[in-house]
């Protein structure tokens, strides 16, 4: 079953925003009936998306906000993280699992998001910036989900 609240926040470009996004998404997923493993995976993916918005997109600018929402839509949990940055082309991002990149200290966020949740869409936002949409498919049925 699982009720789910819709949440929509405008957050500053600070580290606490990354924590808040993670905690809110996890809390709502838990209330929405998702099991602990799915909740954890969502939390990690949201963290990566929010960290990118704060660090790459908005570059910690005090003038720029992170727009964050969570909602249950047709039985799927949808999280959106939008920044007000320059945007980027995800197709240009190097594969962090290829040998020449394995020892790099960064570049694993998008890979992690894609591995952790069921759907990831990275798109240009209007008028500017990036919007990342993360989707978890419906919670397992009650027996499985418990």
């Amino acid at each position: 079953m699982g009720e789910c609240r819709r949440l929509e926040l405008r957050l500053d470009s600070v580290i606490s925003t990354v924590d808040a996004a993670e905690l809110c998404a996890k809390g709502l997923a838990r209330e929405g009936g998702y099991g602990e493993e799915q909740v954890d995976r969502l939390g990690m993916a949201v963290r990566e998306a929010a960290a990118n918005a704060v660090t790459h997109g908005n570059a910690y600018s005090a003038e720029k906000s992170v727009h964050f929402s969570v909602e249950m839509n047709d039985g799927r949990l949808v999280v959106k993280v939008r920044d007000e940055g320059e945007g980027f082309d995800p197709g240009e991002v190097a594969d962090p699992t290829s040998v020449e990149n394995l020892l790099k200290a960064s570049g694993r966020g998008l890979l992690m998001m894609r591995a952790l949740v069921d759907e990831v869409d990275v798109r240009n936002a209007s008028p500017s910036g990036t919007e990342v949409v993360l989707v978890l498919h419906g919670p397992a049925t009650e027996e499985e989900g418990q």
């Binding site: 990690m44 960290a51 660090t55 699992t97 020892l103 694993r108 966020g109 992690m112 591995a115």
Partner: protein
Amino acid sequence: MSLSVDTREVDGVVIVDLGGRITLGDESSGKLRKAVRDLLAQGNKKILLNLGEVSYIDSSGLGELVSSFSTASSQGASVKLLNLQKKVQDLLQITKLYTVFEVSTNEADAILSFS
């Protein structure tokens, strides 16, 4: 306090017991980096990071682990990992970092592996 860092030595291997989360910001990743840098500066060549009590690592924390590894390698020292929780283990799979790190599930074996 997101991350606790304690070091002890067993048979010439420095074991760094980490606890908490290794994540972006809030000094947690800085703490790990500093601990490893200090150990290398003191001339330690065998460093075992015990992640048994680390519940969570994000991509930034993974980056810190990789940096510690690279910095150590460049100084002829080695960094290995001990006791990964399932979530952390999954991340090493996803990111293929299990091909970089030597990981043990048993402290005694890990210590032997350095000799």
